[in-house]
């Protein structure tokens, strides 16, 4: 494959933009993991539901996806919060594998409920901006993807500020680091758990909202993103949201370049193999952090 500079740059841009979405989804997943030590299998499905919500808001009420962003965030924050309280809280004492299975059950329910309600016909949001492309010579920048990337980065930045500059954010980080000590220090750990789940779900929801401008919507769309998010959170060290952020970007670039340089068929296989090697050899990921059970 010959690699002219423009091809290289185009691939890089595409990879970063794709990675930006992976980052957002992964941050959400790792937030949940950090505090609850739980891998949420339903994460991708929730993102998918958010895409459907965005679609219906657009189709029935004519609301542009970027405008319905706050709705996605707020609504799914509440949904995540509620889910944690209703489903996870009661079994918080159980081994983590039990909690994971709970989220697995949730995945089955959500995905199939969507199929039942709205069938598997793919939907597409078509906005005026959907086909806007900026060109600079041989380079092109696809506006919807660019906008998605910018928003994703902004949200990650805001999240970072929230987690480091506010009391609540610090409480979350403290709980993630050591929940026992956090309890002793007077932090309402249960509330933190629910908040984290809500926040994580909201991130996934926003990601879903963003990609519905350029990505077809069907009940299975969350599956691929979930898989990449799994890989990203391990790569970026589980619980480390900055790590997840960087890992998401890396994965996006890796996937795009793999598809071009090697073969499109390997585009998911290579990240998966990286995933496997990571789990075996360096489960702490790129950024250290303790290896916990």
């Amino acid at each position: 494959m010959s690699f002219s500079p423009s091809i290289f740059l185009n691939l890089l841009i595409a990879g970063i933009f794709l990675g930006g979405i992976y980052s957002l989804v992964s941050i959400g997943l790792t937030l949940i993991f950090g505090t609850l030590k739980l891998v949420n299998f339903a994460h991708g499905a929730l993102m998918m539901v958010s895409m459907y919500l965005t679609f219906w808001l657009w189709a029935l009420l004519g609301i542009d996806p970027l405008i319905s962003l706050p709705i996605s965030f707020g609504l799914f924050f509440s949904i995540g919060y509620a889910l944690q309280k209703i489903l996870i809280m009661p079994i918080i004492q159980r081994p983590v594998s039990a909690q994971m299975l709970m989220t697995l059950g949730l995945l089955l329910v959500i995905q199939n409920a969507v199929i039942m309600l709205w069938s598997a016909t793919p939907r597409q949001v078509v906005t005026d901006f959907a086909n806007l492309i900026f060109r600079y010579g041989e380079l092109y920048i696809n506006f919807p993807r660019f906008a998605a990337f910018v928003v994703a980065m902004t949200l990650s930045g805001i999240l970072h500020l929230f987690l480091t500059r506010t009391d609540l954010g610090t409480a979350i980080r403290a709980t993630a680091q050591d929940s026992e000590t956090a309890k002793v220090l007077g932090i309402d750990v249960n509330k933190v758990y629910a908040l984290s789940f809500g926040l994580g779900t909201a991130c996934a929801a926003v990601a879903g909202n963003l990609i519905s401008t350029f990505y077809p919507i069907d009940p299975f769309v969350g599956d691929t993103f979930l898989l990449m998010a799994f890989i990203a959170i391990v790569l970026g060290s589980m619980g480390n949201y900055i790590g997840a952020f960087i890992a998401g970007l890396i994965l996006g670039v890796v996937e795009i370049f793999t598809a071009f340089v090697l073969s499109s068929l390997l585009r998911q296989a290579v990240p998966l193999i990286i995933f496997l090697l990571l789990l075996l050899l360096k489960p702490e990921g790129l950024f250290g952090g303790r290896l916990r059970e």
Binding site: A14, P122, Y140, T224, F225, T258, A259
Partner: protein, 431 residues
């Protein structure tokens, strides 16, 4: 080991030996259950037709239309007096969901045959499902009418009970090259390079193989293959693949992509990277109304087969009649699978009338002798007539091109509604 364990083990060994012996001898004995056979003259009040199609899963959109058409046709036949040669017997359609999975299709087929006692089966859209499920029909001796699965091997298995009214991928693949040659002759523009793109699924790969094969024939193809891309189904981003294509810069691209989301993504990505060949000829999701709604004007100039086009109604009276009737009664989209289901039901009625019986062997004979006129069906075929392998010799598929936001028929010549646009303008030129 204590006494209890020893005794348990001894009992266990005896049990195992006994079980093994029983199993072994049972399988060698004549089967106890008797296969249901129908023989002798019957008074028939009802003919049962099994329909296998995906009603859930990613292909549900296609299956819904098929179910609607099958049931609608049954209603129509009954309103017109049922099957006259069977004393006005009513037709009942029993639809079963395959979920797009071979093992489910197989068990559903068996259920339809044994429990529901259908006399005929129509199905099953996915070639993989049809392949597995039609084995059941062959075992039990029940006629199977395949109206949508296009894998060539299906009629090469030496089956007696399998009949396909639809064409198979090799027939259709050839059409692409014929069309390409015709386009070149018309416009005087010569094509040198070609690229094949297919998703990695049973159907798509089969089509791509057929294209590669025909391209080797210098009379048909003989173009230089500059890119041969396979990609997973349902990817999140096609930039790399589109850039590979752009770098190879083929004159013509043959693409096969079944899921509509993939077709949409390809269209958008090609626009992004700013590449469009002189002709983009496709199979799969590109020729469905849902696709066009999603891509709007970006879908212009794309050529596809498996088309339903409204133009058909101006060329073929029967098509117009059925289209209006179907749309009126159900309000659903017309698409190619609905058309073929209609043809299948027309065939069923014809066969039953000629057979004058629901005995499988008589139905099979009637099928073999079929010579249905193309005027009876919507499809642009001369008719339905089966060769020695159970394959209809007449199917051709329409090639449509998206012009002004509609699917317009451009080929074959008897069905050309407008002049095709070749070469297609590049993205730049479209502004």
């Amino acid at each position: 080991m204590n006494k209890k364990t020893i005794i348990m083990t001894v009992i266990a060994s005896i049990l195992i030996a006994g079980i093994a012996a029983t199993a072994f001898f049972t399988t060698l004995l004549q089967p106890i259950s008797v296969t249901p056979t129908v023989s002798g003259p019957q008074r028939v009040s009802e003919v049962r037709i099994g329909v296998l199609t995906p009603l859930t899963g990613p292909a549900a959109y296609f299956g819904e239309g098929q179910k609607a058409m099958a049931e609608l046709m049954a209603k129509k036949i009954n309103e017109e007096g049922g099957i006259r040669s069977l004393g006005g017997a009513k037709v009942r359609v029993i639809v079963a969901d395959t979920e797009g999975k071979p093992e489910v299709g197989k068990i559903q087929a068996e259920r339809l045959i044994v429990e529901e006692k259908v006399h005929l089966i129509i199905g099953a859209l996915h070639s993989g499902v049809t392949s597995a499920a039609s084995i059941e029909a062959e075992r039990y001796g029940i006629p199977w009418i395949c109206e949508t699965s296009s894998h060539p091997d299906l009629t090469r298995r030496g089956f007696k009970w399998f009949f396909r009214i639809w064409g198979h991928d090799e027939i259709f693949a050839k059409e692409y090259f014929l069309l390409l040659r015709w386009l070149q002759e018309k416009t005087g523009i010569k094509i040198n390079t070609i690229a094949f793109i297919a998703e990695e699924t049973l159907f798509a790969v089969g089509v791509a193989h057929a294209w590669e094969k025909y391209n080797l024939d210098p009379n048909l193809g003989g173009y230089k293959v500059v890119a041969n891309i396979r990609h997973p189904s349902g990817v999140s981003d096609l930039t790399s693949e589109a850039l590979t294509l752009k770098a190879a810069n083929p004159d013509v691209v043959f693409m096969v992509n079944t899921p509509i989301p993939d077709a949409i993504l390809w269209t958008k990505t090609l626009k992004q990277v700013g590449f469009f060949p002189k002709a983009l000829m496709t199979t799969g999701g590109f020729t469905f109304p849902a696709y066009l709604e999603a891509v709007g004007m970006d879908g212009e100039y794309i050529i596809g087969r498996g088309g339903w086009s409204l133009d058909l109604t101006s060329v073929k009276p029967k098509a117009k009649e059925v289209y209006e009737w179907y749309t009126r009664e159900t309000g659903k989209d017309m698409h190619i699978y609905v058309m073929t289901m209609h043809a299948a039901m027309v065939l069923v009625r014809d066969v039953l009338e000629r057979a004058g019986s629901v005995e499988p062997e008589k139905i099979r004979q009637a099928l073999i002798e079929t010579d249905l006129s193309g005027d009876e069906i919507m499809n642009p075929w001369k008719g339905i007539k089966f060769d020695g392998t159970g394959q209809n010799i007449y199917p051709i598929d329409l090639m449509v091109q998206v012009i002004d936001g509609k699917f317009r028929m451009i080929w074959p010549s008897g069905f050309q509604a407008v002049e095709p646009i070749f070469p297609a303008p590049s993205w730049e030129e479209r502004k």
